[in-house]
Symmetry: C2
Subunit: 211 residues, 2 copies
């Protein structure tokens, strides 16, 4: 037999997974009904309330999931030697793998980052900001960025993360269908990141020039 708490966690996960699967199948999280989630989790609608007040709270818990995943991603990226040196190559591949492996979560992220309720959007924004700060802490050790202030470094990291997040929907949309799109995607994102990177290297903080 299982403890009551363990069983509860099981159906809790079933509910969240049901929602994630529906999103992965193309449904819009905003219009997934509580009942549909319960049905797909093999549970009666009223049972939903034992775990979440409403769909938004479930969504916020999925964001927590996402946060855990991002931390895991960051950890495994850091394990690789010099992941910053080839930021535009190996890291992108690592990321693409990760996204495909957890596509439901990333569909959810792309969808709710700008399309969710304000609370959801905010939660995702915070997770991405956390990730960006971690990245900033890493890249600040690069000697080529010595002339960049801490504030600007964080902005650069945020811009990198935003760029990656921004393009993720393309990867998800087309990864399944088009054949070697994955290669094109990697190449394009690589160029975009290199563009930022080059800009960062010639960046001078407290500089007033235009253009």
């Amino acid at each position: 037999m299982m403890s009551r708490e363990a069983k509860k966690n099981l159906t809790r996960r079933a509910l969240m997974d049901a929602a994630l699967n529906l999103v992965g199948e193309g449904e819009n999280f905003a219009r997934i009904s509580l009942r549909e989630v319960a049905k797909n989790a093999g549970v009666v609608p009223t049972s939903f309330y034992r775990h979440f007040r409403d769909m938004e709270e479930l969504g916020l818990n999925i964001v927590d999931d996402l946060g855990m995943l991002l931390r895991k991603l960051m950890r495994s990226a850091r394990q690789a030697d010099n992941y910053l040196e080839d930021l535009t190559q190996k890291s992108i591949d690592t990321y693409a793998d990760f996204v495909v492996r957890h596509q439901n979560h990333f569909y959810f992220m792309c969808q709710c980052r700008t399309g969710g309720t304000p609370a959801l959007r905010n939660a995702i924004r915070q997770e991405l900001r956390f990730f960006a700060n971690e990245l900033a802490a890493d890249i600040c050790q690069q000697p080529s960025l010595a002339k960049v202030s801490q504030e600007d470094l964080e902005l650069i990291a945020q811009h990198i993360v935003a760029t990656v997040a921004e393009t993720t929907i393309d990867l998800l949309d087309l990864a399944g269908t088009q054949r070697n799109f994955r290669h094109d995607y990697t190449k394009q994102l690589q160029k975009k990141l290199r563009l930022i990177w080059l800009g960062a290297r010639v960046w001078r903080s407290h500089r007033q020039e235009n253009v």
Copy 2:
């Protein structure tokens, strides 16, 4: 009296405006019902079908609206002298004004660009790509970008447009509430664009280096 066609166009606009207003009030387009739109347009639900097959078709027509707006924006930007030289200053202000003035449309854009149905997402993607191509045609005349290939120029333009679109939701979210957020937003976006711009200036196409 009005011609039949004119009257039809009137309620057609009323329907689209009703949807846009609901989005502007914080509703998610994906879960706005046909009936609610009809009600807010002062029209019986069945009348909706005289104009659109379903909500998605209405959404696609809003995207057409958006395309017109973007073209207008581009036109007025081009009228300003040397809008490229101070891309990171006057143009951003022009854009911010434009967004606030048409906030319903831009809320819709931000929401549906990643959160809409595939057809909607695609339509918006195309509009933004068109805009990016126009921008690419403008910046290719810059002497500082002489060493950049046409392909890479388009990518850079796309990245600029994506960056602007990406940050627009922040502008909309916080423009109303926080006091001088508008100033912070402008400054941040300015930095991000300058970063891209600096990168573009040192960019060399057909170059194989990493980092």
